[in-house]
């Protein structure tokens, strides 16, 4: 899969869900891409590098979100 295609798919799904959810597990992303985890990781890493996505971490668990979306509030289940 090309990076552009991956970007489109992910941005589309994440934007659609943005009202209820701003953080996603890596698994959710590989399901969106319909790729094996190792393949998905290469693309997701590029999306981080190009600042389409960003990491969110609780310390023990890492999640992904669209850059700039879902501030601290959603981590605390307030929105």
């Amino acid at each position: 899969m090309e990076l552009e295609e991956a970007k489109e798919k992910i941005v589309e799904v994440l934007t659609k869900k943005a009202k209820t959810k701003s953080k996603f597990y890596f698994n959710d992303l590989s399901k969106i891409l319909d790729l094996k985890p190792r393949e998905a990781k290469k693309l997701v890493t590029k999306l981080i590098e190009t600042e389409v996505l960003e990491y969110w971490s609780s310390g023990s668990t890492t999640m992904y979100g669209l850059k700039g979306m879902g501030k601290q509030a959603s981590a605390e289940h307030e929105d």
């Binding site: 698994n27 985890p37 998905a40 990781k41 981080i48 969110w56 971490s57 668990t61 890492t62 981590a75």
Partner: protein, 439 residues
């Protein structure tokens, strides 16, 4: 005069042990005095506010830290853990109080000038409080603000030859025992294996894509000084295949009281004269030793490499010469489902520097492929093993079931054979069978 009254914390200082409260007060006072004229990059009274918010938590019985955050250094998914205080007006010094994890050197070897430099950097750009070391092994730098993160990262990577460690859903900073650098029990070079795998798996360390955390720990022998068997998803424990080496003269030396047992440890009390029967032979968990007519014998086939006899008589007994390691998997802390110790997966594997540890990497990567695909969010390897079964783990790693996989008869889940795994299969003629067995 302290900024906040802390009567509940003060009480913690009254016990006989060193107190973290005293340490924090000392750092708070040093920052207030600032004898070295440091241009502090985060609030000078950060430690006072930390004491204040902790006192508040003791008083009202609830935490005042929010959970997690979008902080980190560019491109890294781990190594920085965002912490924000929910009482920023009362405690502005700790409004941001992020933790940084710094990968400790293999075996935790430092020079004092390195430690001094590190503390200077952290006093300048952080709270000055450290935790040496966290349970993953990292150097933990406690408390700084977001703008300082990239600055500290730049310093660490450019001037300290140092990297951030792991946090979140990635490979955590691998940790090892001091190994062959200082310890004659070490059955393989823990530092080289730990360092090599850390370099090899940089992507897994810094770019989290696992279902949850994953830890490697390396112990040179079954004494397990880094407690790999209890604290890591994959633990590499040094062991040997051949016989324990016995120096019979030295055994006699211990019996005659020429050498103190346990290399002189536990000497704080008079235990009476050394009794080899009581202190060694009778304590061997597999009862595979005897001492008769001044001669020590070990039935090595039964020995489980528990290290007890070797620890008691280190001059007389040594691990064998054909050394390698065992790989155990699935240990974890009790968050879900109870605590678990590692289960033995590979009884013995050569630890071969020459081929870049190919045999070990093969096991690691097979396990990751399985867990990344099948693991649920926040499911540790040990939980996946329980859910899908040890047999599935054997299938995905291509490891044959052996007697060592069975803890004791009828306690582990049974290994079920498939027809194609058994020579000749078990095809039967159903008509023949029905002649003697009615439906």
């Amino acid at each position: 005069m302290a900024k906040h009254e802390t009567p509940l914390l003060d009480q913690l200082e009254s016990g006989p042990w060193p107190s973290f409260v005293s340490d924090m007060k000392q750092e708070a006072a040093a920052r207030a005095k600032n004898e070295k004229n440091v241009e502090y990059q985060i609030p000078q009274d950060v430690v006072e506010d930390l004491l204040g918010v902790l006192e508040l938590s003791y008083a009202d019985g609830t935490t005042h830290w929010k959970h997690g955050g979008i902080v980190g250094v560019f491109g890294y998914g781990g190594g920085v853990i965002g912490r924000y205080c929910d009482q920023p007006e009362t405690f502005p010094g700790v409004a941001h109080f992020h933790t940084m994890r710094v990968a400790q050197p293999a075996g935790k070897f430092y020079k004092t000038d390195y430690l001094k430099k590190l503390c200077d950097l952290w006093g300048f750009r952080g709270s000055g409080l450290t935790n040496m070391h966290g349970s993953t092994g990292d150097i933990i730098l406690l408390g700084t603000t977001t703008p300082q993160l990239e600055e500290i990262f730049y310093e660490l990577t450019h001037n300290f030859n140092q990297d951030l460690g792991g946090s979140g859903s990635n490979l955590r900073t691998p940790a090892d025992c001091i190994g062959q650098a200082r310890c004659e029990y070490a059955c393989y070079d823990t530092q080289d294996l730990c360092h090599t795998l850390t370099e090899e798996y940089q992507d897994e360390l810094h770019r989290p894509a696992f279902p949850y955390k994953f830890k490697f720990k390396f112990d040179g022998c079954p004494n397990c000084c880094v407690a790999s068997i209890a604290r890591s998803d994959m633990s590499f424990i040094g062991t040997w295949k051949d016989d324990i080496r016995i120096d019979q003269d030295a055994v006699k030396g211990y019996v005659n009281g020429d050498f103190p047992p346990n290399a002189g440890a536990h000497a704080g009390r008079d235990w009476g004269p050394f009794d080899i029967q009581k202190e060694v032979i009778d304590l061997c968990p597999t009862e595979c030793m005897r001492y008769e007519d001044g001669k020590l014998e070990i039935n090595n086939k039964e020995c489980t490499r528990c290290m007890h006899c070797i620890n008691v008589m280190p001059r007389a007994l040594r691990p064998g010469k054909e050394t390698g390691c065992s790989i155990l998997v699935g240990a974890k802390a009790p968050i879900l489902d109870g605590a678990q110790m590692g289960s033995l997966l590979v009884p013995f594997v050569e630890v071969n520097k020459e081929d870049g540890y190919a045999a070990i990497k093969e096991v690691i990567e097979a396990i990751w492929d399985w867990w990344m695909e099948e693991g649920k969010n926040r499911e540790r390897l040990g939980e996946l093993m329980k859910r899908q079964g040890f047999q599935r783990l054997l299938e995905v790693t291509g490891i044959k079931p052996v007697a060592q996989h069975v803890q004791e008869p009828r306690t582990n889940p049974y290994i079920f054979w498939k027809e194609d795994e058994v020579e000749g299969g078990w095809d039967r003629d159903i008509n023949e069978f029905r002649k003697t067995h009615l439906r």
